[in-house]
């Protein structure tokens, strides 16, 4: 599903965020991405989504070389990916409902289907009944759930979550991870970045550990 071949990413300014990484994530896998701040977790996720382009090497998603895709083709690849951003990127000028519907608008859903899907996604993440609120009225944890709802509303095959449990207490973080587990159970490929490895241990899944842009044992 996701394949890295000798991928390096050097940002302007000379920082090598990712160095010569090669790995593969199979369809339906749940993989954790661990590492301290600045290890390159966000960069790796952005490379998968084609938000950043590798300086060298190839990133394959669904056998397509994302790093080579044209500006025109890239949006269509992104529609198969659900993204949960480290900085949330919630739009505070509109309701919870309108935040979650954005991917559906982009793909071109309409009518009752939009409402049905948005409410189902909100229900799934535990925000049922809050659709008409402004996101500013949500707690930090609830905002995180809103991001998850927006990422899954169009039922992507791949879900990339960048620190979805940051700033949440342990119990709440476990709730969120349970939620991801339920997506995993219906066959979604998941990559979840987090710096707190103790949370992942309870799930006994594959963990990729990053340090200065390289894998450690």
């Amino acid at each position: 599903m996701i394949q890295f071949q000798q991928v390096s990413k050097r940002y302007p300014g000379g920082i090598d965020a990712v160095k010569q990484l090669s790995f593969e994530i199979r369809s339906g896998e749940l993989v954790f991405l661990a590492g301290h701040s600045g290890a390159g977790k966000s960069t790796l996720l952005k490379l998968i989504a084609g938000i950043e382009r590798p300086t060298s090497g190839a990133v394959l998603v669904n056998h397509q070389n994302v790093s080579r895709l044209s500006r025109k083709a890239l949006p269509y690849v992104r529609r198969h990916i659900g993204l949960i951003f480290q900085d949330h990127k919630i739009l505070f000028d509109r309701s919870v409902f309108d935040n979650v519907r954005l991917p559906l608008d982009i793909i071109g859903f309409s009518g009752p289907e939009v409402r049905r899907r948005v409410l189902a996604a909100l229900d799934k993440v535990g925000l049922a009944g809050k659709e008409s609120l402004n996101p500013i009225a949500l707690s930090g944890g609830e905002q995180q759930r809103l991001c998850i709802a927006r990422a899954v509303v169009h039922r992507p095959a791949i879900l990339l979550a960048d620190e979805p449990t940051a700033n949440l207490d342990r119990d709440y973080a476990h709730d969120i991870l349970e939620l991801f587990k339920s997506f995993h159970q219906v066959g979604v490929t998941l990559v979840i970045a987090a710096h707190d490895e103790s949370l992942m241990a309870d799930y006994g899944r594959r963990i990729l550990r990053l340090k200065h842009g390289e894998f450690t044992a």
């Binding site: 500006r71 025109k72 949006p75 990127k89 739009l91 982009i106 793909i107 071109g108 927006r150």
Partner: protein
Amino acid sequence: MKHWLRLNRLALVRTLGSMVRTPVNTLLNLLVIAIAASFPFGFYLLLSSVAAVTGKVPVEPQLSIFLRNAATPAEIGKLKEQLATDGRVAQVRFVPRDEALKQLQERVGSADLMAGLTENPLPDAFIVTARLGASSAELEQLRDTLARHAGVEEVQLDSAWAQRLERLIALGEVLLQVVVALLAAALALITGNAIRMQILTRREEIEVAKLIGATDIFIRRPFLYMAALQGLLGGLAACGIVAAALSWLNPAVRDLAATYGETFLLRLPNPAEVAVVCAITVLLSLAGAWVAVWRHLRRHH
């Protein structure tokens, strides 16, 4: 196709929503567009009103050749012959001095015009109609050749004022083109800037939309709708402004024309012209918006 219509309807609803949410901004933008468009359009209507008047004036220019009282029949005969063979001349009519006097008396409506005069003061004359479409340079040349002829006292180019008016209108047309070009550029810049402001207020939305798979077309669409709507409303408002201004001027124009014994009114815009003006403002507005969105997308890729 259905999908496409749906996306467009969605964009249109969004656009109307955002225009209604910022009514002051929307109105100010419309007003600026309307005023910018009303200048060339009003100018054009003025020009076409005046051009219509010159159309009523006979355009074939006339020359009056006044002969010396002492001109000999031989000289007159020679002149006649020359006029008959000159390619620039279409028609010649000889007006003897007695007939000219009779005409004058009829026109003035008074028989005692001659009181105090012992002799008819008017000369014999040729009224020459020049070939249609002769340029004024040609006419002036013709006048000069005829004036040098023996037995000729004076040659008058009668249609000089009509020619002058035509020249003035031609000048006005060039001026109109310049004004149209300048204000068209201004219009595209104004609308482009209005759209740029809209883009700035929605740049987070644009950023998120791009990250989760929106195409450039999807992002551009609502702004193009906004631009088209802005252009259409601005164009209509411009026509309204022009119609109001001309109607306001018209009583004064009518009174002025009446002093010349003419009935003349400035022409108001007709539906076809309104459609053309709106089409132009819409296209310019779209062009401005297109560039604004393109610049934004290029910068934030």
